[in-house]
Symmetry: D2
Subunit: 326 residues, 4 copies
């Protein structure tokens, strides 16, 4: 049993807390949150203790720390935890600022830092990756990543989100890197504001098409929209020399209704916590394996920086209207 | 080029006429129909000549005859054509009366008689049969045949139809024989009147479940209804020792609409002439092959009698409430 | 928080124990099992105490009892728990002997007894039921229940299983009753031994087709095999006057591979604990609601007896070769 | 009955000839082809007469001309037929040279010229267009056009094809214009040679991703490869403000095989003449309607020029590495 602490008792923190409690190899000892009420509520529910960050990091029995604090605190919390010698499970993104993130290389490159790009742990995306690795469709040539949210967030959120590329497409940049097997060397992006004019007034876009190209000529398209109109739309098509592998959306049940106007399948899952429930559980199991020395972090500091660099390059391409080399 | 004649210028006769005209190896020379106007209209459209049956059968240039006359004339027309030495393409069923059909064995068993159970020529059912033959799912064990019409026929039709088993399930009895690879030795049927009370008042049923059993213990269920509520519902599931092959319904297009309430596929094909258009064309090609001596009839007199015997046994089981041995 | 006890620390007992532990409203206080090692292992894992049945029933703090003991102990354990005034969550079947089960009516008919026919809690079957209730396809007319295991059990198990109808089809009899909205009044069954001759030598069948008919003429077919060849095959098609609702099998992921020979979807779930994981969790939540007085048992003593009566009637029909009235 | 003439007795000419013969409102009177043997064979099969172009155009009974000659002759044949006052059904593309095509505006803009972009007549793409027009998914925002050939053509063909954009993507540029409801104002393209190095040596690409943007910000991605690895891959996804409509690939039959490794559907159609058989028939019916004065050409000179302009812009973007404005 490894004792761990949770920084951040918000929505995603609660998920991680529940998964930590349910994991037979982990004990959630501490909850840290600047909002005392949130910390206390979650601690009560999980049997953990509310504590200050210093206390947690000073406790030699704490083997690992989950960083689920607000995005602007991620990097500082990672640095503090790394300095204290704790294993780290940090929510994405590492940071919003590429320069700042790069500057932390000395302290974080060799830390036991697991960066939680949850989609890599989704069973369907893992199956897709496994089929590619098995050579089921030959050598990978092109990639189509579709990643649309069910509905746009409030504009207040958009304003502090870092923009579509850093907030939303960052997942897809990580997916692309994970699947392409080769670093993208060039980025080109177009964006529009088609969903909500208020998003445009806030200086952001809500619809984008981003293209990545690798040195060997592999091509990847990332399609993003803040609103699919039909649920959580997270799909991948990977073309190889001998065919295509795809991972599709998930419906709420297998029920179909056949009527005169055709067959209708059930609603698509609409909420990322439903769609990625299994992925979050698998992330926690991976963190337990890291603590037990059975695994090295599948995603680390370098991946966090690389995804951020792609997001920044996409933003630059959007501004300049030209492809950006990396 | 083989010259052929068509007996019957009704709905199905017109289909066969069009397919004969389009076939490069056939010339439609004559149309025969008691209703002069029908015969003339179809002859004008196809470049054929209207003639009496005697003229047709006496013409030594006529190699084959398509029997698409009314059901009660099928057997007599087959007998006359066989006596004249013509090859025959006869619409199903051979006859409504099992004793009468059996009595024609002497004249028809060795005739070049092709009985048009069109579903055997459907590309999907043929693909299913081919998979079974390839051993894709091992040795066949059980069969589920679903065969529901889009909507019930007028009661006037029901009254002269010969009843659900001879009119509708006869196709499924033929399918079962074709796929089981073994004659059914026992039949059990239940029927209800759930769709239209007028069908019940006419002495028929509109919903049935029929079970067939072979000597080796293979089990087959035939599900029939006069109304699916969603289109032409013609499906087969064949379970073998290593899995299952199925043939599904056909939609009008591949279009799907994804909305908040789920994904909807296009309407199912609703009309048997659409669903089986390819099958009717393939039947005509098969008849041309028979005329050219390249093929023997894939379905013949014996098959027509056997399907009729199963339909009669099902009707008896319905009446007695007990299984009927064949 | 309600304290509950678990009778039976076998495979299904462990599932219920894990779900009880994870439920915020339940505390698993006791584990009872004649095999001391099993009881101790599960108690250690869940923080419960090993105890004798008498202790458990005598503890006034124990609000409910989960009966997951061996099938032949179900009824006695229910009777004892009911006598002690505990709420009961009993695994199916209630008993193997219809007469014995009926004889317990006086003690159990009004007990807070929840009988765990897990499939009623499957999200897809629940969605199907909800669509029927909504009138999405009009009034129900016919039902097709397909229920095939991935692979046959060891013959040793078959010998003590009570036979295909009581061991396997009992789930489907309950499903039929739940969905038909009307008691079946007649049963007809055919069975074969096609999967494993040893099953036949043990006096059982491995393949069956059972038909149910209600007073109003609704027809239901239950298709069973001990081996599908492709995974856990649990499907339902419900035809109404305006179409059809179906619930399909579940695949391990949404991944598809498109190659020259067509598109292949991922494996079907192969293990009932995977397929019905959500159903077992929902059962426990329902039991917690019963304990809290928020719900009455969705499935009770009467349902257990009725399913058993159908299984016995099917067995009789199999023996006599004739339909059996209920 | 309208008399028509066919220029070009090659592969696509034969398709049009067969459809013309089968159409009740058309008579194929002449076949013109520089290769006498081809012309004679097709004339013999269809009952037409072999003739020189001048004869055909001088015959006042010829109402329409099908231009299915080699691509470099399309424009000249259209000009000659237009000068002779004939209605024209011209195969795509109008010409390979944008300047030349534009120079013909005076003679062709008002001619009865129907340009055969066959995909607009595909039942599934038409159904998709109809759903968009019905507002089934609200206002269109983005478009994903996937258009991959089964396997690359011989390099000899590639060399004279005009390149991927003019030879292959030209269909997709037309599709985009048809569906976007707004002219693209900007094009950006990346291309790679991943399928066959010989294609690269011939100065062409075999894999491309092209993005189109309209003035209002609608975004369209066109994915092209000379080789899908699994058949003819022709799909469209159209996202609107309230969901998504898609048209999918077509399989050879509805057969599925369910085995331990999952469910496999039948092969995808592999040949454009199969996939678009219905579209070619519908084109001919449209041409008959034009001749009868019942319809104006659904696709005309302007569409041919516009698609060509997009192809040329894509080629320029590929060369310069920058977006190209139209």
């Amino acid at each position: 049993m490894f004792k761990i602490a949770l920084l951040g008792a918000g929505r995603i923190g609660k998920i991680h807390a529940a998964n930590a409690v349910a994991h037979p190899g982990l004990t959630l000892s501490y909850v840290v949150d600047p909002v005392a009420a949130s910390a206390q509520a979650l601690a009560a529910e999980t049997g953990a203790t509310v504590a200050a960050l210093e206390t947690v990091l000073a406790d030699p029995e704490v083997a690992g720390v989950i960083v689920a604090s607000s995005t602007d605190a991620h990097l500082d919390h990672c640095l503090a935890a790394a300095a204290a010698g704790k294993a780290i499970f940090c929510e994405k993104p590492l940071d919003m600022d590429l320069a700042r993130a790069r500057a932390a290389a000395g302290q974080l490159k060799d830390a036991r830092l697991f960066l939680g790009f949850n989609r890599r742990f989704d069973p369907s995306f893992q199956a897709l990756k496994a089929r590619l690795a098995d050579g089921a469709v030959g050598a990978l040539e092109t990639l189509q990543i579709t990643s649309n949210d069910p509905a746009p967030p409030p504009v207040a959120y958009v304003k502090v989100s870092g923009g579509l590329f850093k907030d939303m497409a960052i997942h897809d940049f990580d997916m692309a890197r994970w699947l392409l097997g080769e670093e993208p060397s060039e980025v080109f992006a177009w964006g529009s504001c088609l969903v909500d004019p208020a998003i445009g007034e806030a200086g952001d876009i809500d619809t984008a098409r981003t293209m990545l190209r690798t040195a060997s000529g592999k091509l990847c398209v990332i399609a993003n929209s803040r609103r699919s109109g039909f649920g959580y739309d997270q799909r991948i098509e990977a073309y190889g020399s001998a065919g295509m592998v795809r991972a599709d959306n998930v419906t709420e049940s297998t029920v179909q209704v056949w009527r005169e106007d055709g067959a209708a399948v059930d609603r698509f899952q609409n909420f990322f916590l439903d769609r990625y429930a299994a992925a979050y559980r698998a992330e926690m199991a991976h963190f337990a394996d890291i603590l037990a020395g059975k695994a090295k972090p599948a995603i680390g500091y370098t991946d966090g920086v690389a995804a951020l660099a792609l997001a920044e390059a996409a933003g630059e391409s959007l501004k300049t209207g030209s492809p950006v080399s990396l």
